[in-house]
């Protein structure tokens, strides 16, 4: 038996590797639900406001999207607790070392935003007959605002891990010395802008995709055309802005985390006037590139620093133990950027066609939009992969290595158990939730 267990691939993984894997699995699962919540709330609030302003048709529309919002919302909430708990469970050394500064934004998120969101979602679900139309719509505006405010505080916490500010090393730990530095950390705000706009793009594509499915089948054309045009406008505005913020994020990484930028582009040589190699093929083991071709002169210097001659640091300048894993970060980044470009094109076309009122003359395009629904999810997961893996080997950039952050008393056996449990449990919840979403989405608008 023991012999057998020893020969299962991965059975020799340590607490660190397993804990990282578990955090990745649970965070990514959580993040399947969060972005739709962040974006769809605004759209439901908008639809219901049109109803409150007197356009009766929007009641059914608001309820249809509201129901999908709720199915998605519940799993986002419950899987969020796991992430909070894991800091203590799997990353005890991290929690002890930086809790003095890292705990505060989490506590503020709960008191300032999470209470608001959770209380008013209850008011919204059960209060249809107890509030005026305007007050009821206001409850959804509050929910939408609160979910986005939640994201701000979480990303300020993550922003601190990316770019620690406002602390001093005292009493054997990092202690907060400036709350304003933490709150106005540009890294956190840029992450917030990029993440939230990406989430709005995702919600826009979700609304377009579901509407397109119904428009292909006809029957409720008017209601779904209205939904579609709102979703398309939202997606276009958000996907354009997300690209702007993406550019800012890249520049930010170049200045503050040069190793991350080098991994994103798989750049090995430090050079001024750095070109951008459109075709780059990194080696599998992260020690250089097989191929760099189709170079655009000055391209990378321009992208990273908005200057033709700026120096871009290459991975060769970092000792190998200070480099992030190159291949996944590189592939993740290129996938995200490619998809982001696609989203702009698709949503621009969607806005154009829905304005002309000729959407249904292009069934192929509608079908493409149905199949495009998962793509923003993929783009967001890739974005997080770049952010978090690109920060490695650091838990807190330049301050604490991930290897030093893991709990010392937790055994690999315990994490195997929890990782297995989470995987099975989450997979079944995910299947059920997806089935419910699909069922409600297909049902169409009632009344």
């Amino acid at each position: 038996m023991v012999f057998w267990i020893k020969h299962v691939p991965g059975a020799d993984m340590d607490t660190l590797t397993l804990s990282r894997l578990q955090f990745a699995v649970t965070a990514m699962f959580h993040f399947l639900f969060v972005p739709l919540t962040l974006g769809l709330g605004w759209l439901v609030a908008w639809f219901e406001t049109r109803y409150a302003a007197g356009d009766e048709k929007y009641l059914a529309i608001a309820k249809f999207w509201g129901k999908l919002f709720l199915i998605n919302f519940s799993l986002g909430v419950v899987t969020g607790i796991t992430l909070e708990f894991q800091f203590g469970m799997n990353w005890a050394e991290y929690s002890k070392y930086v809790g003095d500064i890292f705990g505060a934004p989490l506590a503020i998120e709960a008191t300032a935003a999470f209470f608001l969101e959770s209380t008013f979602i209850g008011v919204w679900v059960f209060g249809w007959e107890r509030l005026s139309r305007k007050a009821h719509a206001a409850a959804m505006w509050i929910v939408a605002f609160a979910t986005n405010l939640s994201a701000l505080w979480i990303l300020l916490a993550n922003g601190w891990m990316q770019h620690p500010v406002g602390y001093a090393l005292r009493n054997g730990r990092a202690e907060m010395t400036s709350f304003t530095a933490l709150v106005f950390n540009p890294y956190g705000w840029i992450e917030f802008g990029h993440t939230v706009l990406a989430a709005w793009t995702l919600a826009g594509f979700f609304v377009m995709g579901v509407s397109a499915w119904h428009l292909l089948r006809r029957g409720q054309d008017d209601l779904f055309q209205r939904s579609f045009s709102a979703g398309a406008a939202f997606a276009l505005a958000a996907s354009l802005l997300v690209a702007v913020l993406g550019d800012v994020s890249g520049g930010n990484a170049a200045r503050n985390q040069p190793a991350k930028l080098a991994a994103m582009e798989s750049v090995w040589q430090t050079r001024r006037d750095a070109p951008y190699a459109l075709l780059t093929v990194p080696r599998l083991h992260g020690d250089g590139n097989y191929l760099e071709a189709l170079e655009i002169p000055h391209g990378l210097s321009l992208l990273a620093f908005h200057s033709l001659h700026a120096e871009v640091k290459g991975l060769n300048d970092f000792p190998s133990q200070d480099r992030p894993p190159v291949l996944p970060v590189f592939i993740g980044f290129r996938t995200m950027v490619g998809l982001g470009t696609l989203f702009i094109l698709l949503s621009a076309l969607a806005v154009f066609l829905s304005r002309r009122g000729s959407l249904q003359d292009f069934p192929l395009f509608l079908r493409v939009l149905v199949f495009a629904m998962p793509l923003p999810y993929l783009a967001m997961l890739m974005g997080w992969l770049v952010t978090e893996m690109g920060r490695q080997p650091w838990a807190v950039y330049g301050l604490m290595r991930t290897a030093d952050a893991v709990s010392r008393t937790v055994t690999p056996g315990q994490v195997w158990l929890s990782l297995g449990g989470f995987t099975l449990f989450y997979a079944s919840l995910g299947v059920v939730d997806f089935w419910l979403l699909a069922k409600s989405a297909r049902k169409g608008i009632e009344g």
Partner: protein, 341 residues
């Protein structure tokens, strides 16, 4: 040091409010099958906790995050030392939240029954596990020079299991009273009658637990040193008896308020007993994690104090408003017309 002591109090209060609030929805969920054997009635029991359970559970998130921010070593040690126990609590909370939200999302009867069973079982498990966890904290953990020296099975000692049962009885009584005032008709009648019986169990368990604590833990020392603290257990007893008297007169709503007022001093009694420790050590008192060796810097605690001073009154304000909004029980027609549950 003033801040650290203040935060011990706030920490205790946050956990207390969490239990006083989530206690009723945990209890109402795990007693739903007892008071409403028929599916239609049971739906209304679950609808009665529907608007509140999520907002109640945020008190747990806040209590957890406040532990992290104000006492990082406590957060880190407790959660990593008791890893399997925390995992079980986490699973039961996730199952419960998913079940409460999924149960009404499909019309099939077996679907609803499955998720209601899941909600009841996971609510019971959560109540029991919280009791066992706090029982172990009140009793003192096996903290040695090298950290936690106990085992997972060691957490299931008789004293902590007694605490687990007491938590369940407390939340059962609290939840039954909630059902009694929020689900008119047969469920209210049955819940009222059951609450009357559950009260005696609760009283008996409270007496046993108090005696057990006196005999086998260090909880009594603080009360003997500072006699005024005895007011807390006295308040608990008084509110418990007042609740029963009100229930006997058919005033379920008032009885619920009294049980709310009983839960508060119950938990505060426990926290007053372990002060200045948040995690007392059973092996050597000096190894316990206390306000003196485990708090965040005064600067951070100052920021946190401002945070709760500004936001918590607002939170309490809109949560009270929500309770007024749903003061009148939700009717069947209303739920159907809303179409969301």
């Amino acid at each position: 040091m003033v801040y650290a002591k203040l935060w011990f109090v706030l920490w205790a209060v946050l956990w207390t409010v969490y239990f006083a609030l989530d206690g009723f929805d945990l209890g109402a969920a795990f007693s739903a099958w007892l008071v409403a054997p028929a599916g239609g009635e049971r739906s209304r029991v679950f609808a009665a906790v529907g608007p509140f359970w999520d907002g109640n559970e945020v008190w747990l998130i806040t209590a957890g995050a406040a532990t992290f921010a104000a006492f990082p070593p406590v957060y880190a040690s407790l959660f990593s030392w008791l890893y399997p126990a925390l995992l079980l609590i986490l699973f039961s909370l996730i199952a419960r939240g998913a079940a409460l939200e999924f149960r009404g999302k499909s019309q099939s009867r077996s679907w609803t029954a499955f998720w209601e069973r899941t909600a009841a079982a996971s609510s019971f498990l959560a109540a029991l596990l919280f009791g066992v966890a706090f029982g172990n904290i009140f009793r003192g953990l096996a903290i040695g020079p090298a950290g936690y020296e106990g085992t997972f099975m060691g957490l299931l000692n008789p004293y902590s299991l007694a605490a687990g049962l007491l938590f369940c009885a407390l939340f059962l009584y609290h939840g039954l009273l909630w059902t009694a005032c929020k689900v008119p008709g047969d469920p209210a009648r049955r819940a009222g009658a059951l609450a009357g019986a559950a009260w005696y169990v609760l009283l008996a368990l409270s007496v046993v637990f108090a005696a057990y604590s006196w005999a086998s833990t260090g909880l009594s020392a603080n009360f003997l040193a500072r006699k005024y603290l005895l007011l807390l257990p006295l308040l608990f007893g008084a509110a418990l008896f007042a609740s029963k008297a009100l229930l006997s007169r058919g005033l379920a709503g008032r009885a619920f308020q009294a049980s709310f007022l009983a839960i508060a001093p119950f938990f505060l009694t426990g926290f007053a007993g372990i002060y200045p420790y948040l995690l007392p050590s059973r092996l050597d008192p000096d190894l316990g994690l206390s306000v003196y060796n485990s708090s965040s810097s005064p600067y951070t605690l100052g920021i946190m104090t401002w945070t709760v001073a500004i936001f918590l009154p607002v939170v309490i304000g809109y949560q009270l408003w929500a309770h007024r909004l749903f003061g009148r029980p939700l009717s069947w027609e209303e739920l159907k017309k809303g179409g969301m549950y």
